[in-house]
């Protein structure tokens, strides 16, 4: 799970507003995808068909979210998600990154920002 939904699932202390779509890297059979889509639809959500094309830093950690018999789900770590947003869709996520900086961003976030050349000054 990536994007805004990942931050929501991780319960980060940030102000979040999410749309109906779920960004995710999917490595699954067609039947699993269809079942996921059905479950999402029950909750008024849709699977973003372009989820696999979302850019995430190589250093992203994926923490276990669900462990089933046949299916495992992971959620991308918040620092990596925020770096992805700050680098690729700065305008749309300006308030989110500003709030994270205001609340005291982690050292890891600053390291990732330096490494991926994210201009953090644009958010302040």
């Amino acid at each position: 799970m990536l994007g805004q939904s990942a931050l929501w699932a991780a319960g980060v202390d940030l102000t979040l507003t999410v749309t109906q779509d779920l960004d995710a890297y999917g490595d699954y059979e067609w039947a699993v995808q269809k079942e996921l889509e059905r479950l999402l639809a029950e909750n008024g959500k849709v699977l973003d068909p372009h989820g696999n094309e979302v850019w995430m830093p190589r250093e992203t950690r994926y923490d276990p979210l669900y462990q089933g018999t046949f299916v495992e789900a992971f959620v991308a770590d918040a620092d990596a998600v925020l770096i992805s947003k700050a680098l690729k869709v700065a305008d749309k996520n300006r308030a989110l990154v500003t709030e994270y900086l205001a609340k005291g961003a982690s050292e890891r976030f600053f390291e990732l920002a330096r490494k991926h050349r994210v201009d953090l000054e644009q958010f302040v």
Partner: protein, 185 residues
Amino acid sequence: MTLTQSDLQTRARKRHRALLRKRRDPRFQSVMGRFVEDGLLETNIEGIVPRRKPVPLDDALWAGTVEPRIMELLPAVLVKKPRLLRLPKELPEDVAEVMHAIRHGKPAPSFRGVPPEQYLPWVTQVGRKGRSPSVLKSFRFRHDDVLRLARLRQNLPARSDTDVIRMALELLEASTAKRAPIDPG
């Protein structure tokens, strides 16, 4: 980067406080409440109360400058769920333009800073799911094609020839499309 981490935090706190003031504005609260009520958005912003009453378009356009996801949804809402909004007698020119483009399948313009590739996908998600305004297109088929279409309509879970063509197009795109990487939402 020339600012230290501490400087960044100090400046960010100031900007964040300004943003909090905007989020407390009754216009923002009512628009967000309307979109939440309809399941278009979910938020953990404090004080947002779901509401059924339509919100003025002007308020929605302003709230969209505070929360970009509102602006991203607005073109679809205008066409598919206009009852969420209270529309003025005369629509702003860019609003009328984007609605016309969506309804008639014309090249869509950017809408208040939101490029069409970001707002168009919502046209099929808002309101009746999977539906976008249809556009009349005519093609000349050979007799063989017409027979093939009829056979496919019988063999597929398709309600019409258009359904068959739509399925074929989706299949063709899925098997051949090479998309450029996109930005996360």
